[in-house]
Symmetry: C2
Subunit: 223 residues, 2 copies
């Protein structure tokens, strides 16, 4: 049977891009469907009736939602570039940091880039605390995954690429080279890595798109 | 080398109990350390410097935090009762629902049991929407895991056991047998299952403990 791999996504969404990155790293052919999140397709709603959000991967008719869940599925289904390490302890460590990024970094960064005055100051401080933990975690490694891109790197695309864009739009710089030299270097290496750089949205187009959405908290694109 | 398995937990915490349930189902011997969350031990802080929360499993000196991450680690490390299914699609499904419970059920239920008047009504409605999804998911199955207790069942201990307790304390009944007959039956079966019933805190003691904490949102016990 010919294998059918469909992805319902949004070009500007880091969560959607996570899935594309993993599929490209594995060398999996897939058919991509761009969703209009202001007018979601009946197919998307059918495939993700609980959250009604992108990304959704449909493999031989079976839908999978939530980007981190999809990444694990991709890794367990196809050979090739490993997404998670083999060792159970290293796997646990990768899952811990991926969870940390979605649960601690994401809400914090939204506050830091949008809150005002006094709240802004506290939010920036908290966001930098979160970045500090990631600065320590990357340490002297090339990638979070070690010598090759892995689970945490893919999940951290929201820092490696999207953060710089949202900093530019908001005028608030968080990931400074002085305070976070290792994380900054990682971001540089990450965005120019094979399998990643071909899967990033065009910078100018993304800035224009996000500017039109500025001030409205994005709740349409799922994790 | 003799294997060393340590668990830092809190007797009243469903997150801590998740780990104990998984260890007991696998038949793993472990040494348990009860934490005082008002005065956390230096060992706990050393082992979970990021979140500073229970539960933490320490296997041969290596610490793992976050209950769902720990459950995956236990399943990948030890043979015996499977926590996650073997099939990648079923695994993705289990991870999806476990994530749903921690991300949608937990915040919703806290609002439903503590918010007041108008907000209370909306919060109850939303919490029941979440329970409805789980009612559909359990369907005709004995457990979320099928014929045997698995990942989602263990994660759902907060519904199977803790919900009834918090309902009793708050005076708000959500999981009614009329509206949620399948989920109610599952809860009955779950709390009387081998490996689970021995790992539940004493009901009266838990009610007394939670009453003293009522009104203060628990942020001390980690997921």
């Amino acid at each position: 049977m010919a294998e059918e791999v469909l992805l319902f996504g949004l070009w500007a969404s880091p969560f959607s891009r996570r899935v594309e990155m993993a599929l490209k790293l594995k060398g999996i052919q897939y058919k991509y469907f761009e969703e209009d999140i202001t007018n979601k397709s009946p197919t998307l709603l059918k495939h993700n009736p609980i959250h009604k959000k992108i990304p959704v991967l449909v493999h031989n008719g079976k839908p999978i939602a939530e980007s981190q869940v999809i990444l694990e599925y991709i890794d367990e289904t196809w050979e090739g570039h490993p997404i998670l390490p083999k060792d159970p302890y290293e796997r646990a460590n990768a899952r811990f940091w991926a969870k940390f990024i979605d649960e601690k970094y994401l809400p914090g960064i939204r506050n830091a880039l949008s809150a005002e005055e006094k709240q802004h100051e506290n939010a920036v401080k908290e966001a930098c605390e979160v970045l500090k933990h990631l600065e320590n975690e990357i340490g002297e490694k090339k990638y979070f995954g070690g010598e090759a891109i892995g689970f945490v790197d893919i999940v951290a695309n929201i820092i490696g690429f999207w953060l710089g864009i949202t900093e530019e739009i908001s005028g608030t710089k968080l990931l400074t080279r002085e305070e976070f030299p290792k994380l900054s270097n990682w971001a540089d290496v990450f965005v120019s890595s094979s399998g990643i750089k071909e899967n990033l949205p065009p910078r100018d187009k993304l800035i224009a798109y996000l500017r039109t959405r500025l001030g409205t908290r994005s709740t349409d694109a799922s994790k």
